[in-house]
């Protein structure tokens, strides 16, 4: 295809991505190093019958002028990155000095919003991702052994947790685990503790969110692995069997290696998607016990005063996190591309 033709074909799509992904990225980056101007104050001496008083008022004119002449705001460099709401450099240093054990240090850190989000996000990503893969694999193996007429029906129901809007799915489960809901009541009965509430404690909230995450993502892993199972090399399976491999050994040495590329694929997609965990935190009203980066960004922008600089800074830090997670994929794609040439 000629360059010219390619250009015109690709233009609409490219323009959309340039205007609404690339430019906003630059804008987010810029906003993260500027803060809005503070109001210009002026001191006026007011003299009345009871003597003179100095009053400080906002100089509207000068403020407007400053804002017009420099619409980006005041350049502050890395200041927002280092403040308490983000990397909290001073607070971390202080915690390091004042605490004498590692666990006390981490306890101090978890009071800072950025680190508390970091810890929840990482725990979520690195528990949900492997457990999703295991659950997906188990479902795929089980469904694959069903009678062929049943398979379609089972796949239909299996897709639901994934297809249904994350917010809707988490609300549905949230109502069920409510202490008056059906699962909540059942848990109270099983544990014998009538005051048990999954919403009340941090560990239980985290477990709830993680279970939701697996419930939501397992169908995806299942479908991908199930498709992989349809291309299993039958002769290898049979020869393993002739050699006396047990069922478990066949799963371990033939099926799992065959599915390995798919496992990598699911793991990468899951890493990306779990890192942006957001909807369940709103759906489960778990803000008090679990925050993620996406939630911090949302929270900054959602209030009456939109803290755009703060949200932008967290956005940039989040993007850096994604970049770190994504580097292995990019390297692999690059190697594949080179290999093809």
């Amino acid at each position: 295809m000629k360059h010219r033709t390619f250009f015109w074909f690709f233009l609409p799509s490219g323009l959309a991505m340039l205007l609404f992904i690339a430019f906003p990225l630059v804008s987010v980056l810029t906003q993260s190093v500027f803060t809005p101007h503070e109001a210009v104050l002026m001191t006026v001496e007011n003299c009345g019958p009871f003597g003179c008083k100095e009053e400080t008022t906002i100089d509207q004119e000068a403020t407007a002028e400053l804002r017009d002449s420099n619409p980006l705001g005041k350049f502050v460099g890395a200041q927002i990155y280092l403040d308490r709401g983000h990397l909290a450099a001073a607070e971390v240093a202080e915690a390091w000095r004042s605490t004498d054990s590692v666990s006390a240090f981490f306890a101090e850190l978890s009071d800072l919003p950025f680190y508390s989000a970091l810890s929840f996000t990482l725990v979520f990503v690195f528990t949900v991702t492997p457990l999703t893969i295991v659950a997906g694999l188990m479902i795929a193996l089980a469904v694959n052994s069903l009678h062929r007429h049943l398979k379609g029906l089972v796949i239909f129901f299996s897709l639901l947790p994934m297809i249904v809007t994350p917010m809707v799915g988490s609300l549905i489960l949230f109502w069920m685990i409510d202490s008056r809901g059906v699962i909540g009541t059942a848990l109270q009965y099983i544990s014998g503790d009538p005051t048990l509430s999954l919403k009340a404690s941090t560990p239980l909230t985290w477990i709830t969110l993680i279970v939701y995450g697996i419930w939501h993502a397992a169908p995806f892993a299942f479908v991908v692995f199930y498709a992989g199972l349809q291309t299993l090399p039958q002769d290898q399976l049979e020869s393993a069997q002739i050699d006396g491999a047990t069922r478990w050994q066949r799963v371990k040495y033939v099926i799992v290696p065959h599915l390995m590329p798919l496992v990598t694929f699911v793991a990468l997609i899951q890493l990306m998607d779990n890192f942006r965990v957001f909807e369940p935190i709103i759906g489960f009203s778990a803000e008090a016990h679990a925050q993620s980066f996406s939630w911090i960004i949302f929270n900054d922008m959602h209030g009456e005063t939109q803290l755009l600089s703060s949200a932008s800074t967290t956005s940039v830090l989040t993007i850096l996190g994604v970049a770190i997670l994504l580097t292995p994929v990019l390297i692999r794609t690059w190697q594949d591309f080179k290999g093809k040439k």
């Binding site: 690709f10 991505m17 906003p24 639901l160 009541t185 069997q241 989040t318 994604v322």
Partner: protein
């Protein structure tokens, strides 16, 4: 798997496997059935303190409404709280997002699949990076210009933003789909004197529908399921269903309001049910397309 003597399973294993499948089915489907059933009850039944079987039998609903089923939640959500407006907004957003992203995506994806130059690789990699960005990280970049130019709050703005955010995925899907259509088809049309666009129009468009429908389904799901973008970019009167449901949750103090949210949630799930019923095969093939092709 074939049912030869060698692969026949022992009774114990069969029971375990079937038991596990049933367990998973309950896990996957029960929440939806339960909430659907409960949406026709009053709050005191759905969240029953005294006796959990009330949620099944609707004892208190019977007392309040004279029947163990009531449409009060639906009436409250759709009429009183004007959920129908959100429904219309969601419909509009979804239709336009799907049409626009497919139009842009087919043109772009086709070009990417037919050009052998190095920049196609870099464009695809850029798209992959864009796909990995959490959409909410871009919202801070939208707000100022949108306020400045009075674009904030309109459905059209949100549609364009969702289309753009959806482009990377659409391009990847359609790129790999067009690669599976033999190049000889449009090459021969070009030999016969067609321009590239004529070849695309007369030769490729008639055969591209399976791939386009699959991609369209995922564009639809993205637009339909979105909360982060729609809740930040739409004004209150233009809200789509999902942000609207969340705003119900903010006002749950008075009795009955929770049931509005439950009814709204069930209403929002229904179209997805139908979608999976009719397009199960396409959804499955779309999910695996990325995996199989790498």
């Amino acid at each position: 798997m074939s049912d030869t003597v060698a692969t026949r399973r022992s009774l114990g294993l069969r029971l375990t496997v079937n038991g596990f499948v049933i367990f998973w089915l309950i896990l996957a489907a029960f929440p939806f059935l339960w909430t659907f059933w409960g949406s026709f009850k009053i709050e005191l039944d759905f969240f029953s303190i005294s006796d959990w079987t009330n949620a099944l039998t609707g004892a208190l609903t019977q007392e309040a409404h004279g029947s163990s089923f009531t449409g009060a939640g639906y009436e409250g959500a759709w009429i009183q709280e004007e959920f129908w407006k959100a429904g219309i907004n969601t419909t509009l957003v979804c239709i336009f997002v799907v049409i626009t992203s497919l139009t842009l995506g087919t043109l772009g994806g086709y070009a990417l699949s037919r050009s052998g130059y190095r920049y196609t690789f870099w464009l695809l990699i850029t798209a992959l990076i864009f796909r990995a960005l959490p959409p909410i990280t871009l919202v801070a970049g939208y707000l100022l210009p949108f306020f400045e130019w009075n674009l904030w709050g309109h459905l059209a703005t949100t549609v364009i933003v969702l289309v753009a955010l959806n482009q990377p995925f659409t391009l990847w899907m359609l790129h790999s789909f067009f690669q599976s259509i033999p190049k000889e088809l449009d090459e021969s049309a070009k030999v016969d004197g067609c321009t590239q666009f004529q070849a695309f129009r007369h030769v490729i468009i008639p055969v591209m529908w399976p791939g386009v429908i699959t991609t369209g389904l995922f564009s639809f799901l993205l637009a339909y399921n979105d909360f982060a973008i729609t809740s930040m970019l739409l004004s209150k009167e233009n809200q789509t269903m999902i942000p609207k449901i969340v705003s119900f949750m903010g006002t749950t103090q008075t009795e009955g309001n929770v049931m509005f949210a439950v009814a709204a949630v069930v209403s929002a799930t229904a179209p997805l049910f139908v979608l999976v019923m009719f397009f199960q095969r396409q959804i499955v093939s779309g999910l695996t397309a990325g995996a199989v092709k790498g």
